[in-house]
Amino acid sequence: MLNKRPRAIAAAVLLPVISVVAGFVVAGLAVAISGADPFQSFSALFQGAFINPRALPETLVATTPYIFLGLGIALGFRAGLFNIGAEGQFYIGALFGVFIGYSLHGLPSVLHITLALAAGILGGFLWAAVPGILKARFGAHEVITTIMLNYVAFGLVNFLINNGPMVDKASSAPRTPYIDPAAQLPILAAGTRLHAGLILAILAVPVVWFLLARTTIGFRIRSVGFSPTASRAAGISVAWTLLTTMGISGGLAGLAGADEVLGVSHYMPPSFSVGYGFDAIAVALLARSNPWAMLPAAFLFGALSSGSRFMQFQTQVSADVISIVEATVIMFVAAPALFQWIFRLRRAPAPPIKIASEEGATV
């Protein structure tokens, strides 16, 4: 991780940047084909993300969950795990967080917030531990099990909140009760929704970096991700490592969910997320699983997400166009060979993201 030559750093930055530019080109073509003006649309997108009143705070509000989720997914990548279940873990984390938020009263704010966030971490951890155990014990592929557990999580949340035990009986809409005011994360700028969760998310970056680069747990995660066979021969328990990695990854996703409840919505409706957990896979890929790079990557996705609403309002171009940008970015980042072929660049020496499988296929 240390002593990277400037050239290598430049190459590592260049790939994501060009990927994003390519994403906009492809999305712009789609906009043009649909009959709208891509330049006008993207300028509205920019305006909606940064220029308008409260645009930047809204972008930062959307950035926050992307940082947590991206870090969690990246951690999985480093061990060779593809955690597609971040969305479900996000839901369960929010569920645990909102429960602590509305069921306790009279606690000091710091304690209440800490408890609620810890509950969110626990929820995500437990939810991710299930595929972790299935993988470690029976070799069940985590891509399948985490995707399936997403639906279980959605169903569970729907059951509990839609006329279930967690519904607010005083409300006509299906939702949980509001959390206690003491559990709300403080607002950072008056008149905006920007909350202290952003600070927590930014602090999580060095923590995850330290975990990966400086602790024995991180060393185990990276060793298993690079070579499960050599790790096993060196006495590292591969099963245990995969299980803990999955748990920590889920814990970060759960933290994102609880943070969203405590900072933004203050209650939980049955359909809670706007697909943060799926977008965050792109964030982690774009950051090439580097914790520091998660900040700009999450910021970009936060901007896309908040700017696209204004773009749709202003130009009638569907906000879904943003999905084209995201998809193209993933395609480029996930297929460095394609990228090299097009741009004939030297490959940046970043660690490959391994999708764990018997064959050890590399993406």
Binding site: R214, T215, F226, S227, A230, A233, G235
Partner: protein
């Protein structure tokens, strides 16, 4: 190299792993291009650029790992790529089934054409592979290590089939490293070593011992400076060990052996006689079925790899890239791969990188690893230097026992000498070494005692003297 195959004969191609047998046959089958030279088929030059050219000429290959589609039936697999298509584009399966049955009857390859391949045993699947080549009109059959996946009974069945095919006038090339099979089945034998043909002979002219010598012998004997061993008390004892292979057949069958402090015990044997399974069990990577492994008086038969390591067992694995090193880690990280979480390399869960770095610098110097810095990725080193990193890691933590499997395979002479010297030095300091090697010369020049392994058993333990080379060769062939 030259090789002449005659019709109506089973021609065995014998050699150690890496001798070039499979590469040669892949050239014949068109999977790899040869650099120079010609292939004559039926007396005329053959142009074989890809497998379809080979198939058109009548060359068929049965790979070590089958190329079958498990959910499809036998008949479907056999005709795949050569289907008879009906008027509306349908496949005439009934005709295919009749043809497969007819072929099977003719060559004694009884297989139900309607059976799903996934439901068949490995032996029967191999018959389907043979049927496939015959269906495509093969007259020359290449079998790559065909018995590697078979039980002895299945292997006998295969031999019967091959004999009947030869009687029909077909030519068969039989790639193997197992001596016994060659004597059983071959009409002619070509022995390969390091990419060259070293002899072509017949079972009548050559004894198994001759063949073993031809296979593993090396013209230049490596000299290792070493004094006589001064064995101390036993550090590792193996008692009636039975160890299964991946298919749950016993690969090691009742091995008894003692390794004393300060001696090198060599395990000689043709590869595939249970050495790999034995090594894996002795480092905690494979659970023995029965028997005991005792380490310094403590039973560790079912202990984990981590326990073996912490009790002072070092391991130089045969497969360096898969088991020995993490290519994407730095040299320093590889050097602490099994001790990363112990003091002084970690305090609690926090790694102490300065301690790792200074330890790495020390080992890099004493093991003569040619590298720019400890932060360099191991993947960028040459094979010899990678192996020195493995040796440095395993010997650097002062083990009581070293299990070394093919420690110098594929290395240059300089690295071989260096690693041999390190092993002898550590022996003199009291290390007990189990050295598994298919290079008989390596065993003879290093080992103080030689245990010969054959079919999962130790068939004899001899003093490691060059004069015993012929006896060892005989024992390796199961003939003594």
């Amino acid at each position: 190299m030259d090789l002449v195959i005659e019709w109506g004969q089973v021609h065995a191609l014998l050699g150690e792993n890496g001798a070039g047998k499979t590469t040669l046959m892949n050239v014949v089958y068109g999977l790899i291009r040869g650099d120079s030279g010609d292939i004559l088929f039926d007396g005329s030059p053959a142009v074989i650029h890809q497998p379809t050219d080979a198939i058109r000429l009548g060359i068929g290959m049965v790979h070590q790992h089958f190329m079958l589609i498990p959910p499809l039936t036998v008949a479907e697999n056999v005709i795949l790529g050569h289907e008879t298509v009906g008027p509306v584009g349908t496949v005439d399966l009934a005709k295919a089934q009749r043809e497969v049955t007819a072929l099977g009857t003719r060559y004694g390859l009884d297989v139900d054409p309607k059976a799903r391949v996934a439901d068949l045993s490995v032996g029967i699947q191999q018959r389907v592979e043979i049927l496939k080549t015959l269906y495509r009109g093969a007259r020359l059959l290449i079998m790559d290590e065909p018995t590697a996946v078979l039980t002895p009974q299945e292997a006998q069945g295969l031999f019967d089939i091959l004999r009947s095919l030869a009687k029909e006038g077909k030519a068969i090339i039989f790639i193997t490293h197992k001596l016994g099979e060659v004597i059983d089945i071959a009409d002619r034998i070509t022995v390969m070593r390091h990419g060259k043909v070293v002899a072509t002979t017949t079972p009548g002219e050559s004894s198994p011992a001759d063949l073993a010598r031809l296979m593993v012998g090396r013209p230049v004997m490596l000299q290792v400076d070493k004094g006589p061993a001064r064995p101390g008390k036993p550090v590792m004892q193996l008692e009636r060990l039975v160890i299964d292979d991946d298919r749950r057949h016993p690969a090691v069958n009742g091995v008894e052996l003692e390794i004393h402090a300060g001696e090198i015990v060599g395990v000689a044997g043709v590869e595939g006689n249970g050495q790999n399974e034995l090594v894996e069990a002795l480092v905690g990577l494979r659970q023995p079925r029965s028997g005991r492994i005792v380490l310094n008086g403590r039973e560790v038969t079912h202990a984990t790899a981590r326990t073996f390591i912490s009790l002072g067992v070092g391991h130089i694995p045969a497969d360096r890239h898969r088991m020995g090193i993490v290519l994407e880690h730095s040299i320093a990280d590889n050097l602490v791969l099994s001790t990363y979480d112990r003091p002084p390399f970690a305090r609690g869960i926090v790694r102490q990188l300065a301690a790792v770095l200074s330890y790495a610098k020390k080992l890099i110097k004493s093991f003569d690893v040619r590298a720019e810095s400890p932060a360099q990725l191991v993947g960028s080193l040459s094979g010899g230097n990678q192996q020195k990193v493995v040796a440095a890691r395993e010997l650097g933590r002062n083990p009581k026992v070293l299990i070394a499997s093919q420690p110098t395979r594929g290395l240059d002479v300089g690295s071989i000498e260096f690693i041999h010297k390190q092993i002898v030095q550590q022996r003199d300091a009291g290390l007990g070494v189990l050295l598994v090697s298919s290079e008989l010369d390596e065993i003879l020049s290093l080992a103080d005692r030689v245990a010969v392994m054959y079919r999962g058993q130790i068939v004899g333990v001899l003093e490691g003297k060059a004069a015993e080379r012929d006896r060892i060769g005989l024992m390796m062939a199961g003939a003594a």
